[in-house]
Structures are given as structure tokens and as C-alpha cells.
């Protein structure tokens, strides 16, 4: 499915489906820190429109305020559009509504799991300031056990927490609810 979108993206005719072409290009851009999931699957791309004079407008939102990947993502979008002969574009960063892990697509969740990162639970388990709250029940991405414990709320990147499976004993990253 992706391949056909990729192929049509070489067609610079801004005819019908021009937005779909741009979506196709964006779907081929992976997150630089989790290189198995695209920025579309992550919910970073909020909107794509093609306006008058073939102006392509893309709206993106950051995951965490300090995410160092965000600038890289913006630059990669620019380069990918240029490679596909789209020169007239604007990329707008929008903060509101704030990004949430609910925007990660189902296929994105599956890709995270296959990569060894436990996908986020749904947001009823989102962080509150209450102390020592009951930890979320997170499924081990390796052996599917729910018998896991949190090691740290903060992991290798802002969006992840560190967990350990008590059954298969493997440590793993959990893409924490946000």
C-alpha cells in the first residue's frame, strides 16, 4: 500500500489526490528516535492541505516541549518534500490541542510493540500529581505478561518510562501515556 503512494508522489501534478500524495510522503518519514514508526502514525502530523498555487500546508505538533527530535522531523519533512519536487510549502507548528498518546494509530501501536516498546495504555491511566499512585498495568512487549514493574517514570527519551518484566526478566521501554 505504501509503495503505491510512494510512486504517485513522484507525480507533481497537483490534481485530485494532491493531499494524499503529501500524506504518502509524510508516511514514509520515520521518527528519528524510534525509527520504526512514522510521524503520521505518531500523531505528529495534524493536517495537510493543498491551497491555491499548489501551496502545500502542513501542520505538525511536538510530542514533548523539549523533544530534540522535533527540529529534526521538521527538517526531514522539508527535505522529503523537496526531493519529491514540492517546493511551495509551509510547515506550521501548532501546540494546541496538546499532543496525546491517544493520537498514535493502531498500526503505530503494533509497530512499537514489534520493536520491543510497550505501546501506551489509553489515557485514563495518564499521570496525575498524586503521589505513589498505583502503577499502570503494562504488558511486556516480549512475552505478553502483565506481571511487570516500573523502574523509572523517565526513560531513554522524554516519551518513555523504564519497565521490567517479572516473568521473562527482560527490561523494556514503555511509551508512557501522555
Amino acid at each position: 500500500m505504501k509503495a503505491t503512494e510512494q510512486n504517485t508522489s513522484n507525480n507533481t501534478q497537483p490534481s485530485m489526490g494532491a493531499e494524499e500524495v503529501v500524506w504518502g510522503i509524510l508516511r514514509s518519514i520515520n521518527d528519528p528516535e524510534i525509527p520504526v514508526i512514522s510521524i503520521v502514525d505518531l500523531g505528529i502530523v495534524r493536517a495537510v492541505s493543498v491551497e491555491e498555487h499548489h501551496l502545500v500546508k502542513i501542520i505538525i505538533t511536538p510530542t514533548y516541549s523539549g523533544c530534540p527530535a522535533h527540529d529534526v522531523i521538521k527538517m526531514t519533512i522539508q527535505l522529503s518534500l523537496l526531493e519529491n519536487n514540492i517546493k511551495n510549502f509551509s510547515i506550521e507548528q501548532r501546540l494546541f490541542p496538546a499532543w496525546t498518546t491517544d493520537w498514535i494509530s493502531d498500526s503505530g501501536r503494533q509497530k512499537l510493540k514489534a520493536y520491543g516498546i510497550a505501546p501506551p495504555n489509553h489515557t485514563q491511566a495518564v499521570c496525575t500529581p498524586e503521589i505513589f499512585q498505583k502503577e499502570e498495568s503494562v504488558q511486556c512487549p516480549h512475552c505478553n505478561s502483565f506481571h511487570t514493574i516500573m523502574i523509572s517514570q523517565f526513560g531513554s527519551t522524554a516519551c518513555k518510562a523504564l519497565y521490567k518484566c517479572e516473568d521473562c526478566k527482560e527490561p523494556f521501554d514503555y511509551f508512557k501515556c501522555h
Partner: protein, 244 residues
């Protein structure tokens, strides 16, 4: 407009200086996970400061950029609270500072996410989600250390002695906070209730009748800020206009 610009700069300076201080722990944390936690928090804060500086730069005009605001203003132009520039001290003092500051950010941003200015509202709503993690993490550590061993408790008591005098300033309105009607009295009540609850759980007492230092909001800082800026601004001052 000047009041809004000043206020945004104040918020940005708070986040940047706090983030810069935390970054000093990078590679020095007591254990790897907590080193990573603190630098994660640092990154969130520096990210927040970037959105705020970008907004302030647009408001200020005169070719200001997020970089010029962060790297080319002098000590007297920084509007951060004195609390944020205090030295990290030991782990206990760093934790307490983070807890006192994050709790203030939590209630402030809760209020600001309903604010009339769309841009500030969006930044606050976004930052609030991150700050919630910071409050939870730091309050759990305050309890762990306060209600821990004799030594960890003593260190928390020392931290309270070192920092409490800087907490009052957060709730003394500056000119811009008055003009924008930021309800600091209300935020203080929420902050006070939360800090009391956590310190109580940590078996630590809140000191009474402490003389509260102020000045940061109007650019009169403790000696520490100058050193922070010297280090932080070194690259931009040595190689003017260098970019990432």
C-alpha cells in the same frame, strides 16, 4: 503589550534557569535512572522556555530571537525567581528545589491554560502535562528522603533551611503580574496546601516566620545567576551569531 512580553520572559527565564541548573547533574546523578529522570525534566523545561522565548521574541520585535533573548541578555535583564538560580547542593536540595518550583508551575499552568491569550494558553496546556510528571516524581523523592534515614532527613532539613527563604518571591506579584491579573494569592493557597501535605508525609516541618528574599522578578539576583549566565552564554558571546 510590554507587560505581556515581560511576563512571558519571566516565565521563560524561570524555565531556562531551572533547566540549566538541572542539566548540571547530567552524568552525576546518584544512580543512572535518576540521572536520566532529572535530565528529562531539564529537557522539558528548556523546551518550555523555547516556546516562551519564541513568543516573547515575536512580541518584542527589534529582531529579537529565542537565542538572543536567552544568550544575549545580561543578569539584570533576567526576570527569573531567585529560587531557580540557587545552587543544586546535594541531591536532597536539588529535589526540594524541583518540588517547590514544579508545584508552583503546576497550579500556575492550570490557571494559565484558561487564560485569554491563545498562545500562552497553548504553551501552558502543553507544559502542564509534563509538569505533572515533575511534581509527582519530586514529591515522591521528598517523602522518600524526609521519611528515610537519619542522614537523608537531616539533608532535607538543611535543604529547607537553604531554600525556604526564596519561596515567598514566587507569590509576590511583579508589575506585569499585577497588570495581567495573575491570581498569585490563589495559586499560593494551592501551592501551600500541596507542599504542606507532601512535607507532612515526609515528616518534615515547614518553617515559620522566615524572612522572604525577593528581587529576581525585577532583575536583582543572588550572586549565582551571573555564574550560570557566564557558562550558558559563553558560546554565543565568544562566537557571535553561531547557530545549531
Amino acid at each position: 503589550m510590554k507587560h505581556l512580553t515581560d511576563y512571558i520572559l519571566h516565565l521563560a527565564d524561570n524555565a531556562l534557569i531551572m533547566g540549566q541548573r538541572n542539566a548540571e547533574w547530567c552524568g552525576h546523578g546518584p544512580i543512572l535512572e535518576q540521572d536520566i529522570a532529572l535530565t528529562n525534566i531539564s529537557l522539558d523545561l528548556i523546551g518550555q522556555s523555547r516556546y516562551l522565548y519564541q513568543y516573547a521574541a515575536e512580541l518584542a520585535g527589534n529582531n529579537a530571537t529565542e537565542d538572543s533573548l536567552a544568550y544575549l541578555r545580561t543578569e539584570r535583564e533576567f526576570k527569573n525567581c531567585l529560587l531557580t538560580e540557587q545552587p543544586n547542593g546535594d541531591w536532597g536540595q536539588t529535589i526540594l528545589k524541583q518540588f517547590l518550583f514544579s508545584t508552583y508551575q503546576l497550579y500556575l499552568f492550570e490557571w494559565l491554560q484558561q487564560y485569554q491569550d491563545e498562545r500562552l494558553k497553548a504553551i501552558a496546556a502543553k507544559a502542564l502535562k509534563e509538569v505533572t510528571y515533575h511534581v509527582r516524581w519530586s514529591s515522591e523523592w521528598v517523602i522518600r528522603l524526609g521519611d528515610g534515614t537519619e542522614e537523608s532527613k537531616q539533608r532535607m532539613l538543611n535543604a529547607i533551611d537553604a531554600l525556604w527563604m526564596y519561596t515567598g518571591e514566587m507569590f509576590i506579584p511583579s508589575e506585569s503580574e499585577m497588570a495581567l491579573q495573575i491570581p498569585l494569592d490563589r495559586i499560593y493557597k494551592q501551592w501551600d496546601a500541596k507542599t504542606k501535605a507532601v512535607l507532612n508525609e515526609a515528616t518534615l516541618l515547614i518553617p515559620e516566620k522566615v524572612f522572604m528574599q525577593k528581587g529576581g522578578k525585577s532583575g536583582v539576583h543572588t550572586e549565582y545567576l551571573g555564574y550560570i549566565l557566564t557558562e550558558m552564554q559563553y558560546m554565543q558571546r565568544t562566537y557571535p551569531d553561531s547557530e545549531w
